[in-house]
Each structure stands twice: as structure tokens, then as C-alpha cells.
């Protein structure tokens, strides 16, 4: 296994995070860093602590020890400022079912004090490939994939330097997954720091420059893309299923 040596500025810095929920240790001394322009995938099975790691970075969970630092600001002390820098895509992309895609995006952006024109929202919806005839329909009539695409469009429109993506391709069809991965890579090229948590080994290998393997709340190893090549899927898959990284 190759270890990454970082040269770009660090956007996300998880420092020995310990998080306990309902008297159960979910994160156990979890440490990792994500630089700007980098896609980092936290890979792990169910209950490994992936979503908890994201929610801790967002300040939804308070660590018992350790700290999360975003662009040099500690989450525990500068939450409001940090949330302005982060676009978050939750696992179950839940937007308002009574609003249509446009209204949802406009409403949530307005809460974040981000102002976008209709044209910009249209471009974003086109970018995520949401059918145009669905734009004015309420989300209650959307499929899971369509809701996911709307949430992705919202996350993109935040123009945030940091993206936290929780199982972002869940519910998307293969074509849409491919398009989404392209989008993520292009955002990283534009300088965004992207942390995605997933159990999709192939998807992670396709987009991430580094993959952290999470088990029982602790990072048990990292895979780093070598030069312009993708991380070897088979090697990651083997380690993921075996649970051991040598």
C-alpha cells in the first residue's frame, strides 16, 4: 500500500476523532486529510462510521476527543463560517416533496444566502442530467435518482470549496453515475476538496485520488492513485472484503 505525501493546501483535517453515540464508539481515533483539488473516498461497510465521519465534519456530532478542522477553522468553534464553505449531499437526498426542483434549489440556496439566476439553476440541472420536463413537477413525483440529481445540482450551485458527499451515486443509473463521476473530477480539477463516503469500490476507484478504508470507526489503510492512473480496483476490493490491508 502506498502512502500519500500531500503538497496541496489541506482543506479537511480530521485529527484523531473519537465519536460516541448511544454509548457506542462509532469513530475511533479517525484521522485523515483532504487537500483542495483532491477527491478522497472513505470506503467502508455498513456501520463502519462513514456517515458519522461526514456528520462530525458538519458539526452534527461532537467528538469526545480529537478535532475536525476545515480550511484552518475548528468545527467546534467556527461552525457557521464552516457551513458556508461546505456543500453537503446526504445519503438520502431529502428535499421538500411539495416543491419542484427549481423551487427546492431556490429555497435552499436562499437559506444559504447564495443567489443564483434561473439560467444558472437551469445549467446546473442540465449538468446533472435531470430531464427538463420534470423541472416543474413536485419532488413527491420524482424517483430516488431524480431526487438525488436535484440534490447534486443544489450542492454544485453552492459553489463551495469543499464538498461532502454521502453515498452520492446511490439511486443513480449507470449512465448517470458515470456523468456524476465526471462532474466530481472536473470540480476537483477546479480546486474543490471533495470527500465522499461510499461502499461502492468501483465508483471510489474511478474518481478518488486517495481511498481510506474504514473499519469500526478507524482508518485501517489508504490507497493512493499512482500518477495519472486510477487506484487498482481489484486490490481495493480484496482489502475491502478481507478487511485487512498489508
Amino acid at each position: 500500500m502506498k502512502r500519500n505525501t500531500q503538497t496541496l493546501p489541506i482543506s479537511i483535517d480530521a485529527q484523531q476523532l473519537v465519536v460516541t453515540l448511544n454509548n457506542k464508539k462509532i469513530l475511533n481515533n479517525l484521522s485523515f486529510q483532504v487537500s483542495s483539488g483532491e477527491v478522497y473516498a472513505l470506503l467502508g461497510g455498513n456501520g463502519a462510521g462513514k456517515s458519522t465521519a461526514l456528520k462530525t465534519l458538519l458539526g452534527f456530532h461532537k467528538p469526545v476527543s480529537g478535532q475536525a478542522v476545515i480550511e484552518g477553522l475548528a468545527v467546534s468553534t467556527s461552525l457557521s463560517a464552516i457551513r458556508k464553505k461546505i456543500a453537503y449531499l446526504p445519503e438520502n437526498a431529502s428535499l421538500y416533496p411539495h416543491l419542484n426542483a427549481f423551487e427546492n434549489i431556490e429555497y435552499f440556496l436562499s437559506l444559504a444566502a447564495v443567489h443564483k439566476t434561473h439560467a444558472e439553476i437551469k445549467i446546473s440541472l442540465q449538468q446533472v442530467n435531470l430531464q427538463q420536463d420534470a423541472w416543474q413537477k413536485p419532488l413527491s413525483k420524482f424517483s430516488k435518482g431524480m431526487r438525488q440529481k436535484t440534490a447534486i445540482a443544489l450542492a454544485l450551485l453552492r459553489d463551495s470549496p469543499i464538498l461532502l458527499l454521502d453515498e452520492p451515486t446511490s439511486g443513480l443509473d449507470p449512465v448517470a453515475i458515470d456523468e456524476f463521476n465526471q462532474l466530481v473530477m472536473s470540480l476537483a480539477k477546479q480546486g474543490a476538496a471533495i470527500l465522499m463516503v461510499t461502499h461502492d469500490v468501483y465508483g471510489a476507484c474511478q474518481v478518488a485520488q486517495r481511498i481510506g478504508l474504514l473499519r469500526d470507526g478507524a482508518l485501517v489503510g489508504e490507497f493512493v492513485a499512482d500518477g495519472g492512473h486510477q487506484i487498482d480496483t481489484e486490490q481495493v476490493h480484496k482489502a475491502f472484503t478481507a478487511g485487512v490491508i498489508d
Binding site: L58, G59, R83, Y88, L95, Y96, Y107, F108, L111, A112
Partner: protein, 486 residues
């Protein structure tokens, strides 16, 4: 989601409130609930205002007619006029059109006659069809009982819905704090409450034109606004605490049932237990027994008046009642009426005292239910509470006593004793035993007026304090909950 007061943003709150309204408009249930609420308040206010004008006109007219009929009676024996009697009517106070209070149970008309204190009659609840005995649909009932239920239907999911659909995390990720979220939801519900209160506020113009003071009207409206605000705080607190929509709704429905339906009944029952009062029949028997000991005021020869006769003969230095410079029968009626009234008043005051003590205990339940607190405040400021009804009873009793005694005075001084004693011997004798109709001008014009506004405002201070305590308590509870979830 940490947030302090400095970070409260009115624009964000407005956006959240506006979106909640958008949700309600697109959700049929909420729109139906809102329409029912508005229709109920609007229609009851319109109907009640119309009824109040009609009632005031009818009762004013009836009062005038009753006085005129009494005065227009021909020459008669004065004691026949004592029993001819006279009706008095309670004209509703201006705010009575919104909250008829105890008037709908106690009655609004009293027949005044000699030797008796009749109860008020023609209570709306007694003369209406059977179902209205459960509570007529007045604006006060709609706002005190139905409006909180409609707010529950509209608001139970304001926060629990966000939690259930997991939009809370998206909202938080946009940098939105719980404080702004909760204040936004409160604003949305407050707008609903104000819409429900709008017909009441509009009726305030009519109320003011009817002579109600601005102070009382303001206190009345503030009380209702405070009450609905308390419900909003309860709704948002429970919606914030509940893990799901179903838990939120069932908890709020139970809370409404306890606070608006059960507690007022419990209050009345407990008051009845704390201050046991004898039934009407029991009291009537006790009064009758005591009155029997006084003797029959119609019969001057009754042995109860032997001493009175002796004293009077001695005072006027004569040997026979026929030689007295006054009509002994009239004098007996005068004295008898005073004694009877003294006993009747004692019993009436005891009964009113009992009622007030019961009412005192019932009103303490305002510390346990905001509905009880508002009901008390509403009745007291409207001038339709028990105290006002008691004042009506005292004023009418005063009127009764005065006119009966004036007639007895005329009987004593203007009708010859011998003519009086011979009145039943022949028709001609009966004609002689009469006095001029000019003597019937003994009725004072009666118009029942509300208590001064300051007095009513002072009476309403305790229920107002109860409402403020509820408001403060749930305000703090919600603030702590918000901090807990932040």
C-alpha cells in the same frame, strides 16, 4: 446548529415562514383546517354581532314596554300592583357578543314582584334545542377550543416533518440554525393565529362603537393572542421533541384534549367538591320555613303582627287600628316586605358567596390549563362573568324592593284602612278601595351597564398572570429544547 440571539435573521425567518405557508397551501388537509378555522371565526363573529344588536334592541324595547305597561295600569288596589310586578332585562355588554359568558346559562330576564326573589329566566342554553346545551358556537368557544385544535392540525409537523424526511440535515448544511428555523415556524403559525383573530379584531370596531373602552378591548384581544401564542409554543415544542410526525400529532391531540376539554370540566367538578352547596330545592324549603315564622303579610290580623299593632296604637295614642292615621294593612305589608327581603337577601348573598368561592377554585385551574385562564379573562373583561351577573341580581333586587315599598307606602298612606278592609264586600266597595294610577310612577328606569373598564381590567389580572406564566414557561421550555438539539 449552535445559535445565539445575535444570529437571529428576520429575512431567513420570513423565508421559512413563507415556505411553511406554501406547504400548507399545497397540502389539502392544512388548507381545509385553515378554511374551517377562518369560516368558523368569521361566521360566529358575524352571527353574534347581528344577534347582539337584535338582542339589545329587543331587550331595550321590552324594558321600555314593560315600564310603560306598569305605569299605564288603571286605578287599582296598590297591593295588586305589587303582585302585578315588573320585568327587567339584562342588555348584553358590547363584548358579550363575542363571549356571552355565564349569561347564556344564568338567564337575562327577571320578573320582579312583592315578597319573592325570582330567578333570572330565558337563558339561551335552557331555551335552545338540546344539542346547544353542550356549548353554543360562539366566537369565544371557537377561539378557546377549536382554534388550538386547528393550530395543532396545521402545525404538528412543523419540525417533526423535517426530522422525518431528513431535511433537517440539509437545512443545517445551508448554515441554518435551530433558532431561525424555530422562529420561522413560530412566525408561520402566528400568522395563522392572527388570521383567526382578525374577525375578532374587526368586531372590535363594532364593540368600540357600542361604548366599550379601548383598554378593555385591548386586554381582551391581547388575552386571546397570548393564548394562541401559548398553543403555538406548545405545538412547536412538541413537534421539536417528537421523533416522528405520528408521535407529535398524538401527543398534541392528547394535550389539547386534556387542556381544552378535560381540565375545564375537572375544574368545575373540583370546585363543586371543595365548596359543597345545597341544591335549589333544599334552599327554597329552608327559606320558606324561615319566612313562615314571619307571619302572613297579607293578613294584618296574623298573630305575628300583634306586637306591631300594639306598638303602633301606643305610639299614636289610639285604641283601634281604624283610628290610626295610616292604613295598618299597608303598614304590615311595608314591615313584612322589609323582613322578608332581609331573609331573602341573606340567602341570596350566601348563594352568591358560595358561587364565587366555587368560581375561585375553578379559576385556579388556570394555572393548570391556559384555556381555563383565558375563559376567565375573557368573561371578566367582557363583563359576562359571575361577578357581573351577581351585580345584575343585586341591582334588580334593589329595584324590586324600592318599587314594592313605594307601593306599600302608598298603600299605607293613601288608602283608608276601613275601605281597604271592606274591599271584598261588594263590587262598589272594591272600586272604592283603589288609589290613583298616578301612584304607579314608582318604577325607576332600568338599564344594566357594564362595570367600569378599570374594574374589569383589575379583575382580569390573575388570569392574565396565568397566561403570562404559561407563555414564559413554554417559551423557556422551547428555548431549552432548541439548545438541547443545537
Amino acid at each position: 446548529m449552535k445559535q445565539n440571539l445575535q444570529s437571529i435573521q428576520p429575512v431567513i425567518m420570513w423565508k421559512i415562514a413563507r415556505d411553511e405557508w406554501r406547504y400548507w397551501f399545497r397540502s389539502k388537509l392544512a388548507v381545509v383546517a385553515l378554511l374551517i378555522g377562518l369560516t368558523c371565526t368569521m361566521s360566529t363573529v358575524v352571527v353574534s354581532v347581528g344577534d347582539a344588536f337584535e338582542l339589545e334592541h329587543q331587550r331595550g324595547h321590552a324594558q321600555q314596554q314593560s315600564e310603560q305597561t306598569f305605569v299605564n295600569q288603571p286605578d287599582r288596589h296598590p297591593h295588586r300592583m305589587v303582585h302585578y310586578g315588573h320585568y327587567v332585562f339584562k342588555t348584553p355588554p358590547p363584548l358579550g357578543m363575542v363571549d356571552p359568558g355565564v349569561d347564556s346559562h344564568t338567564g337575562n330576564t327577571i320578573f320582579l314582584e312583592g315578597h319573592r326573589q325570582n330567578s333570572a329566566t330565558f337563558a339561551d342554553q335552557k331555551q335552545s334545542s338540546g344539542t346547544t346545551i353542550l356549548g353554543a358556537l360562539t366566537p369565544a368557544f371557537v377561539l378557546q377550543v377549536l382554534a388550538p385544535l386547528l393550530l395543532v392540525i396545521m402545525g404538528y409537523g412543523v419540525v417533526s416533518r423535517e426530522r422525518e424526511t431528513q431535511t433537517l440535515s440539509i437545512l443545517a448544511a445551508q448554515g441554518l440554525g435551530y433558532g431561525n428555523l424555530i422562529l420561522g415556524k413560530i412566525s408561520a403559525l402566528l400568522l395563522v393565529a392572527m388570521l383567526m383573530l382578525l374577525p375578532l379584531a374587526i368586531s372590535g370596531i363594532v364593540v368600540l362603537s357600542q361604548g366599550e373602552s379601548l383598554l378593555t378591548l385591548s386586554l381582551f384581544l391581547v388575552g386571546y393572542l397570548l393564548y394562541l401564542s401559548i398553543w403555538i409554543l406548545i405545538i412547536v415544542s412538541i413537534s421539536l421533541w417528537a421523533k416522528s410526525n405520528s408521535v407529535s400529532f398524538s401527543t398534541l391531540a392528547f394535550t389539547w384534549l386534556v387542556l381544552c376539554i378535560l381540565m375545564p370540566r375537572v375544574a368545575t367538578t373540583v370546585a363543586g367538591v371543595m365548596v359543597p352547596a345545597a341544591g335549589k330545592l333544599e334552599k327554597d324549603f329552608a327559606v320558606a320555613a324561615e319566612l313562615r315564622q314571619l307571619g302572613d303579610g297579607h293578613n294584618a290580623k296574623d298573630k305575628a303582627f300583634v306586637q306591631l299593632e300594639a306598638e303602633l296604637l301606643k305610639k299614636h295614642k289610639v285604641n283601634r287600628v281604624e283610628d290610626l292615621p295610616l292604613n295598618f294593612r299597608g303598614f304590615v305589608a311595608l314591615k313584612s316586605e322589609a323582613e322578608i327581603t332581609s331573609i331573602l337577601n341573606r340567602y341570596a348573598e350566601d348563594r352568591m358567596h358560595e358561587e364565587l368561592r366555587q368560581s375561585f377554585f375553578a379559576r385556579q385551574f388556570g394555572w393548570l390549563s391556559p384555556q381555563v385562564a383565558l375563559r376567565t379573562l375573557s368573561m371578566l373583561t367582557a363583563g359576562t362573568g359571575l361577578e357581573t351577573h351577581h351585580r345584575f341580581l343585586r341591582e334588580t333586587e334593589n329595584l324590586r324592593f324600592n318599587f314594592v315599598q313605594r307601593l306599600n307606602q302608598a298603600h299605607t298612606n293613601k288608602l283608608n284602612y276601613i275601605d281597604d278592609m271592606n274591599r271584598n264586600k261588594s263590587e262598589a266597595a272594591g272600586q272604592i278601595a283603589r288609589i290613583s294610577a298616578k301612584n304607579w310612577n314608582v318604577i325607576e328606569g332600568f338599564k344594566f351597564r357594564s362595570s367600569p373598564s378599570k374594574e374589569r381590567a383589575l379583575q382580569a389580572m390573575t388570569p392574565l398572570a396565568q397566561l403570562l406564566l404559561w407563555f414564559g414557561m413554554f417559551g423557556l421550555f422551547l428555548r431549552n429544547l432548541q439548545r438541547h438539539y443545537s
